[in-house]
Each structure stands twice: as structure tokens, then as C-alpha cells.
């Protein structure tokens, strides 16, 4: 690194920041990615619908419309290089009336104009043969075979792993709070007192892109959170469809969808509720009935009895509802990547390319690295192997034989590789391995994971957190708390074994 100054600092390790950093890792360019949380993908990116959209919702006059279409077609290659769960299962938009069919036709025309491949209009028979679980009242709709589903956090983990492999540095727990423009570079300071210097800056801070913009004395932005709550259903749910099912969209949102996740569970959501607080990810009961009512209208077999869990995410929206990706007019070495709401996940790979080009335009010299290696190793997953393949693996590496999470069949070796990749919180391990993500939600495996974490990292049990600062799980050891009335506590059999 020249004079200890990075060429580029990317603020934010969500899907957008990670895509940009990985793109830059193909060039001879010293890049650092800064993330305030303890792990990557803990922002907006961890809580979304995971859909790779089909390119028929927005006109190409919008930046998000163009980047969605471009992003979509990049996923096959990315999957070959990075091995994240992704499936082009196809998307159906279902119409119930002739009126709705008219909207469907408009969406079809939009898609054709956007040069989406394979779009088709479906009559009643066609749509029901594509998805037999649809409500019999559906009269027709749109089929976008290029639409798909992805595990978003996994995608980010792979992007980061690849970026790191090609020289990008990741700094977690680095919350950017202050910046100064120096001669030819920015001095960037973190809340924890650390600092570093970089010549170019990318603001990919998701919900906080407005605050980061202010820190760098750039444009005045105002990000408004739009909450979306999702419900996750068991993989045995009778309503699990083969394709992503959309209703005909309204003006405010794409509506309540039914989504088959790439790992075989089923998701229902999201809602769209404006709120002020960017930290408030609470779920509520009030919209529950309407969500399931809407979902059942599409697929009658959807049932709240199958719920495993529910969570909420916040879409970072800007006025005008489009992405704002541009060289800052106030700080010519700063690239703004703000307002990345849906279809941000789909567009992310294209955003990476786009931002690389903007950096060039801003004066950054980018030459390709001869030793760039786009591939990362695929970690074997016990649940994906036949017993014979599994046996061969366990003979080489016994830890694959120890099943830690029984709901999702995750072995000890997979937990250990998560930890070695830097995922040292319980949620980080969950997102990396799927352990604690199944129907028991960690009831059986979390105590085992706590042990492995202690062994692998040397952390004490009290230091282990769910997802970083303040989210500690264990407060004390037995015997370590004062007992109010010690006489009441028995000895003998009540002692810890």
C-alpha cells in the first residue's frame, strides 16, 4: 500500500458494499471495506425476501430498472464462482380478474421492452400447470422463468470471502463516525478510536447512507425506512410452491408474496409500513391476519400453523424511490450508493460494475490483476451429500460426522469453518451454516455451538454474543450469583453435575 493510504474505502458490508469490493478485487487497487457490525450482511441484507427479480416491474428510465435486468443475468456465473444457494425457480404474477390481466399485460410489455428473456403471458391452464398449488380462481398471469431465489447473507459471505482472497481487507466493528479531507485523501475515524486513510470513498451504508454522506460533507440525503415483515414457514408446509408467486402489484408495493427459499423452506411477506426509527426491527401481530389472508388468496394451502419464525427488515428509501448512484457533486472522490431498496439484491452485481466505472471516471486508475482468482472453495455440506459421499468425507475429516444441528443436518466441521471464516457470533454462524435456523430454532444445538465457539476462539462464555455488542447470551456461572436466601437452596442433588 502506498504511504499507508488505501485506494478505496467502501463503507458498508451489505450486499451492495460487498459486490463493489469484490468487483474492485479484480484490479490492482488497495481496497478496504468498513462495517460497523461484528459481521458482514447484518444490515438490510440479512432480512429480505431473497428474490432475484425478473425485470418486469420498472421501466428502464429508472436506474433500478436497468440495474435489476443487468444484475439478474450475472447470477449464474457468480454462482459457479462462489457456490451460494441460488435457484432460477421462476416467478409467476397471478391475476384474478380481467382488470388485473390488463396490468399483467402491461408488466409483460415492460419486461419485453427491458429485453428480459423468456417472459410469457399465461392463460388459466398454463398458469395452473406451472403452479398447481395456485388458487383455482386465478385466471391467468405472467411467467418470468429467469426470476429466482437466493440466500442473501450467504451470497454476501461468499462475495467477501472472494474479495478477501484477492486482497481486499475487511474491518468489522469499524463504525465510521468522523472524516476529514486531507491532501489527496480522507482520514476516516471509527467510533472505537481506530482510523485509516483512503483516496476514494464509496458510501454503501444502506439505511445510514444519509449519515455517512453527512460525515463526509457531501449531499444532504434523507433515507426513510420502509418496514417489511416476513414469516418463515417449515419446509414441510403444504403451501410451499415451486415458483415465487406475486399478486398483481399495487402502487405502493409488490404486495404479499409466497416464496420458496433456495433451502426448501417457504417465506410469506413482506409488508410495507413506513416508520421513522432505523433501529426498530420489531415484528407486530397486527398485520399478521392480513398477510396470511393475502397469501392464502394466492395459495390456499398456506397456513400459519407452519410458521417457524418471523422477522422484519427496513428498506432504505430515498425521495423519488430510485437508486441514487453517482459521483458526489460536493466530494469528487466520493461515490454515493444510496436509496438501495428493492431490487437492490438483484441489482447488486450490476451496481458493482457501475460503481467501478464511476470510480474510473472520478480518476481512479484501475488495472486488472493478473493473479485474480474469481473462485472460492466450496465447503461441503453434510445435508447435500449421500451417505456414501458423507462417509468418504468423515474418514478424511471426522468432524463432518458429528451432527450438531439436527433440524438442518449441520456438522461440527461446518460450524468450525464458519468460525474460521470470521463468523464468531451465534447469528453469524447461523447464517453461514443454517444451524439454529430450522424448526427448533436452536433449542437443541445452541449449547453445542457455544462450546465450539469457546474452543475455537478462546472467548469466554460470557463474551459470546448473538450478534455483537450487548447481545450476550450468558451472564454468569452457577455459583457466581448471590442467592437471596441461601438457606432455601438445597445441597446434594441440586448441585451441578
Amino acid at each position: 500500500m502506498k504511504n499507508n493510504i488505501y485506494d478505496v474505502a467502501v463503507v458498508g458490508a451489505g450486499v451492495v458494499g460487498a459486490s463493489i469490493a469484490r468487483k474492485l478485487s479484480a484490479y490492482a487497487c488497495d481496497t478496504v471495506i468498513l462495517e460497523k457490525e461484528w459481521d458482514v450482511s447484518f444490515g438490510v441484507t440479512k432480512t429480505n425476501s431473497g428474490i432475484i427479480h425478473g425485470g418486469f416491474h420498472y421501466p428502464t428510465s429508472t436506474l433500478k430498472g436497468r440495474l435489476e435486468v443487468l444484475g439478474n443475468i450475472m447470477f449464474d456465473r457468480l454462482q459457479q464462482e462462489l457456490h451460494f444457494p441460488f435457484r432460477r425457480c421462476g416467478i409467476l404474477a397471478a391475476a384474478f380478474t380481467i382488470e388485473e390481466m390488463k396490468t399483467i399485460e402491461k408488466m409483460y410489455m415492460q419486461g419485453v421492452e427491458n429485453k428480459v428473456i423468456g417472459l410469457e403471458l399465461c392463460n388459466r391452464d398454463r398458469i395452473h400447470s406451472l403452479e398447481p398449488k395456485l388458487n383455482p380462481d386465478v385466471v391467468g398471469g405472467l411467467h418470468a422463468p429467469s426470476g429466482g431465489v437466493i440466500e442473501p447473507y450467504h451470497f454476501v459471505f461468499s462475495l467477501i470471502e472472494s474479495a478477501k482472497k484477492n486482497g481486499v481487507e475487511l474491518r468489522t466493528r469499524f463504525k465510521v463516525v468522523k472524516a476529514e479531507k486531507r491532501k489527496g485523501h480522507f482520514l476516516i475515524q471509527a467510533e472505537n478510536g481506530e482510523s485509516l486513510r483512503a483516496r476514494y470513498l464509496v458510501n454503501a451504508a444502506g439505511l445510514y447512507a444519509d449519515e455517512v454522506s453527512a460525515i463526509f460533507n457531501a449531499e444532504h440525503l434523507q433515507i426513510k425506512p420502509l418496514k417489511g415483515q416476513e414469516f418463515l414457514l417449515d419446509r414441510n408446509a403444504a403451501g410451499l410452491p415451486g415458483k415465487v408467486i406475486f399478486p398483481v402489484p399495487s402502487i405502493v408495493s409488490k404486495g404479499i408474496l409466497v416464496i420458496p427459499t433456495p433451502e426448501g423452506t417457504c417465506m410469506v411477506g413482506p409488508t410495507a409500513i413506513e416508520q421513522k426509527d432505523k433501529e426498530d426491527l420489531s415484528t407486530s401481530q397486527s398485520n399478521f391476519a392480513t398477510v396470511f389472508h393475502s397469501a392464502r388468496r394466492l395459495i390456499p394451502k398456506i397456513s400459519e400453523r407452519d410458521i417457524i419464525t418471523s422477522f422484519a427488515g427496513l428498506r432504505p428509501t430515498l425521495k423519488g424511490n430510485d437508486f441514487y448512484i453517482a459521483i458526489s457533486e460536493k466530494q469528487p472522490e466520493l461515490i454515493q450508493v444510496a436509496g438501495i431498496q428493492s431490487p437492490g439484491l438483484t441489482a447488486a452485481p450490476a451496481i458493482g460494475e457501475y460503481v467501478k466505472d464511476l470510480l474510473k471516471k472520478a480518476g481512479l486508475v484501475l488495472t486488472e490483476r493478473p493473479d485474480y482468482d474469481p473462485f472460492v472453495d466450496e465447503i461441503p455440506r453434510i445435508r447435500k451429500l449421500s451417505p456414501y459421499e458423507a462417509d468418504a468425507l468423515v474418514q478424511k475429516e471426522p468432524a463432518y460426522g458429528e451432527i450438531i444441528c439436527r433440524c438442518e443436518s449441520v456438522s461440527e466441521a461446518e460450524i468450525v469453518s464458519a468460525i474460521r471464516q470470521g463468523h464468531t457470533t451465534m447469528d453469524g454462524i447461523k447464517f453461514y451454516t443454517r444451524a439454529q435456523m430450522g424448526r427448533c430454532q436452536g433449542g437443541f444445538c445452541s449449547y453445542k455451538i457455544l462450546k465450539i465457539l469457546q474452543r475455537e476462539t478462546g472467548m469466554s462464555i460470557e463474551e459470546i454474543t448473538k450478534r455483537g455488542l450487548g447481545s450476550n447470551l450468558i451472564t454468569d456461572r452457577v455459583g457466581g450469583l448471590a442467592v437471596k436466601d441461601p438457606a432455601a437452596a438445597p445441597t446434594g442433588t441440586e448441585e451441578v453435575k
Binding site: 418463515l232 458429528e402 451432527i403 436452536g442 437443541f444 447481545s471 432455601a488
Partner: protein, 419 residues
């Protein structure tokens, strides 16, 4: 891949699996017990309180002591092979069945057998299953997990706790938390009556002045990183009365909101499951819809008392032995179904010509209730029950004599009701 052959393979080395293995091996058949943990005993290992074995051994034992009795028995038999830290993960059924079990030590073992006993126990219902609104901070634990963390690992999950659910596990944890120095602010129960034993209400709550909020529920969880509090809301006529809500400042929430038989594996290889119990449909010999695959203990239906688990599992084992000897004839079994006010009755079939034992759960709460068993609409037997409620299992038997009465119709369908 290592290959092995046994007459029977038992999935799970908890009280059900142990009792079954002892009985099957005692009759001269070879048995393998697969247990994914590093010791036998199952859930009993974390139940270090007493109250176990009063029926079975006429002694007041702790969970581990109760388990130890069966572990000793099983270890004395040389036709039982125990595989610890070994998880049954895949089964292809047929003649014989093939079981694929995963372990660190042996790799994947392929075990061929003629009979399988499902004894995998149950799991706990969690936050997602009951959908408590609010944030998603650290500090929300299922009661069984907290019990394990404290009693086996020696870890305390927090300092000020609220417990949701007044089942026995929740009550016992209220006392346990208090004993290790955690302040328990209350036990919240959505029903108008406690679902745990009266003895536990007295000994685990009243003795420690822990309030029990009946007809109340948790309406919100607060806290960004760690729980900082909950909102408790009373119910009136089944509706929440938001105006009367109050807050409790706690850092920990324990959920004791029910258990679900853990049948993922069974479902995967085609065992048909009863939506009322979450366990397999079984005939009079506790054999599931897959020939040669039996079930007992909490994987079949959730039991309140381990003594019943042992008894049921031994009975199951006798039928496994019959099956292995070629004398088991499921065609002779007749159906028994739930009638009025009955949630479920297990098994789902009975066999005339022997004593049949049944377990059932009531849908209603009632003092001085009557259990009525009828055959083709005609009452066959009646039994007085001092008190029934959904959380308490009821058991009854029908012997040869009871069953010899009644009509000659072919179906011979029995129906059980509570009035």
C-alpha cells in the same frame, strides 16, 4: 463404509429407547441403540430435581438416578450395542431396513435390521411457533434449553427472568433460577388455570413468592441487543385487554409453551404422522404405518411422567419381539377413535384378546368427569375421573373381558369420550 446387522435398531437412548432395548435384548434379540449425545439418558440427564420413579420404583429419584437404573440394565446385556455420539440421519425401509447413522468415530455406518424403534423424544415449542411480537434480542430461551445450560453446563442465562407457560418444566425452572440467584419476576399463563402439577405450584412458586399470572400473555418483547423488558397483557373472555397491560423489566424470557414429538426423520422415510399428537399413527402394538417400525416415549406423544414412558416402551418392545418372531399380525387390530371432548387417544388401534393400555388427553377442563368407551355407539365401559384438563394425560386399560362384550360387527370401532 462400515456395515452392521441387528434384529432391531433403537433411535435414541433416552428413557424410552433404554427401556425398549432392555426388553428386546432380554428376549434374546440383538439390538443397537443409536444416541447422538455423548451419554445415555436423554432429557432425564438435565432433570436434576427429584420426583421421578415414584410409580415405577416406589422411590423418589432424580432424573439422572432414574436413567442410571436403566443404563445399568442395558449395560449388563451383551446383545445390546450402544453407539454414542451417533445420529440416525437416513433410513430406507424395506426388508431389511437400512439405517445410515453418522458419527465422528466410525464415519457413516450402514445398519441393516428388521425392526426399528423410534425413541427420539421431543423438542420444545419456541418463540416462532407462538409468534410473540416485538424485537428479536438475545435473552429469549426455551425452558428446556435454559435447564440444560444451568444444570449440565453451569451457565446462567440472565439475572431477571420472566417465564411464559406454567407447565411443569416452567415451574421447575422458576425454582431452579431462584436457587442459582436469578430473580424470577413472574410466571405468565394464558389459560385460566395452571397446567403444571399442584405440587409444583406450591413448591416452585408459592414457597418463593413468585407471582403466577393466570389468563395473561406476553404481548411484546423489548430490547435491541438483549431483552430489556416485556409487556404483559391480561385476557378476558379470550380477548386481550390492552388497557390493563403492564411492563416487567427483565433481561431474560423463558418459554415453556409445550413440546412437539420430533419426527422429522420418521416423516422423511414415510411414517405417517398424526396431526393431533405430532407422533406416528400406531396400531395396538405401537407399530407405525411402516411395517417393522415402532414408536414409544415422547416421539409418539408427549408424556408428563417418565414412569409412563418406561412402561409404554417396554410394552412396545414386547410387540417388536413378536414382530421379529413372525407372530405379529396387524390385521387383527381394530380402530379406536376420539369422541366427544377428547384431543387424542393413543394407540390408534386395539387388539381383542389382550389387555390394551391407552393414553388420552382431554380437550376440556372439568371436575368429576366421566370417561366413556363405546363400541359401535353402545357404551362398553365407564370410568370416573376426579379432574380432567388438557395438560394432564389420562390413562386407562381395556382387558380381554371388556372387549369380549359388544356387537359382532366387523369393524368393531371403539370410541372414547369424556363427559
Amino acid at each position: 463404509m462400515i456395515e452392521k446387522h441387528y434384529d432391531a435398531v433403537v433411535f435414541g437412548g433416552g428413557s424410552a429407547g433404554l427401556a425398549a432395548a432392555v426388553r428386546i435384548a432380554g428376549q434374546g434379540c440383538s439390538v443397537a441403540v443409536l444416541e447422538r449425545e455423548n451419554e445415555l439418558g436423554g432429557i432425564l440427564n438435565q432433570c436434576i430435581h427429584n420426583g421421578f420413579g415414584i410409580q415405577r420404583f416406589k422411590e423418589d429419584l432424580t432424573g439422572p438416578e432414574y436413567a442410571e437404573r436403566f443404563i445399568e440394565m442395558v449395560e449388563e446385556l451383551d446383545n445390546v450395542s450402544i453407539f454414542l455420539e451417533t445420529t440416525a440421519l437416513e433410513v430406507t425401509h424395506g426388508t431389511p431396513h437400512s439405517v445410515f447413522a453418522y458419527s465422528k468415530r466410525y464415519g457413516v455406518i450402514k445398519i441393516e435390521c428388521r425392526a426399528i424403534v423410534l425413541a427420539m423424544g421431543c423438542r420444545e415449542r419456541n418463540r416462532g411457533n407462538i409468534g410473540i411480537p416485538g424485537t428479536r434480542p438475545a435473552g429469549v430461551f426455551t425452558a428446556g434449553l435454559a435447564q440444560r445450560l444451568i444444570n449440565i453446563d453451569g451457565y446462567i442465562p440472565g439475572r431477571r427472568a420472566v417465564i411464559l407457560g406454567s407447565g411443569d418444566i416452567g415451574l421447575i425452572m422458576a425454582r431452579r433460577l431462584t436457587w442459582v440467584g436469578v430473580e424470577v419476576l413472574g410466571v405468565i399463563e394464558i389459560q385460566g388455570y395452571p397446567s403444571g402439577l399442584t405440587r409444583n405450584i406450591v413448591q416452585c412458586l408459592n414457597d418463593f413468592n413468585i407471582p403466577l399470572y393466570l389468563s395473561h400473555t406476553l404481548s411484546e418483547i423489548r430490547g435491541k441487543d438483549r431483552v430489556t423488558g416485556v409487556t404483559v397483557t391480561p385476557l378476558q373472555d379470550g380477548k386481550t385487554v390492552t388497557a390493563k397491560s403492564f411492563d416487567l423489566d427483565c433481561d431474560t424470557i423463558l418459554l415453556s409453551v409445550g413440546l412437539i414429538p420430533d419426527n422429522e426423520l420418521s416423516r422423511k422415510f414415510g411414517v405417517s404422522l398424526n396431526p393431533e399428537t405430532g407422533g406416528p399413527f400406531v396400531d395396538a402394538g405401537l407399530m407405525s404405518s411402516v411395517p417393522g417400525v415402532f414408536a414409544c416415549g415422547n416421539v409418539l406423544h408427549v408424556h408428563d411422567l417418565v414412569d409412563y414412558v418406561s412402561e409404554e416402551s417396554e410394552r412396545c418392545a414386547s410387540f417388536v419381539v413378536e414382530y421379529l418372531n413372525g407372530t405379529y399380525n396387524p390385521l387383527l387390530h381394530h380402530p379406536i377413535v376420539s369422541g366427544a371432548n377428547v384431543k387424542y387417544v393413543i394407540p390408534n388401534k386395539y387388539l381383542p384378546g389382550m389387555t390394551n393400555r391407552f393414553y388420552l388427553r382431554s380437550l376440556i377442563v372439568k371436575n368429576k368427569a366421566e370417561l366413556v368407551i363405546s363400541l359401535e355407539g353402545e357404551p362398553l365401559k365407564r370410568k370416573n375421573l376426579a379432574h380432567v384438563q388438557p395438560s394432564e394425560m389420562v390413562s386407562f386399560s381395556l382387558d380381554e373381558q371388556d372387549l369380549s362384550r359388544g356387537s359382532e360387527s366387523r369393524e368393531k370401532k371403539l370410541e372414547v369420550s369424556i363427559y
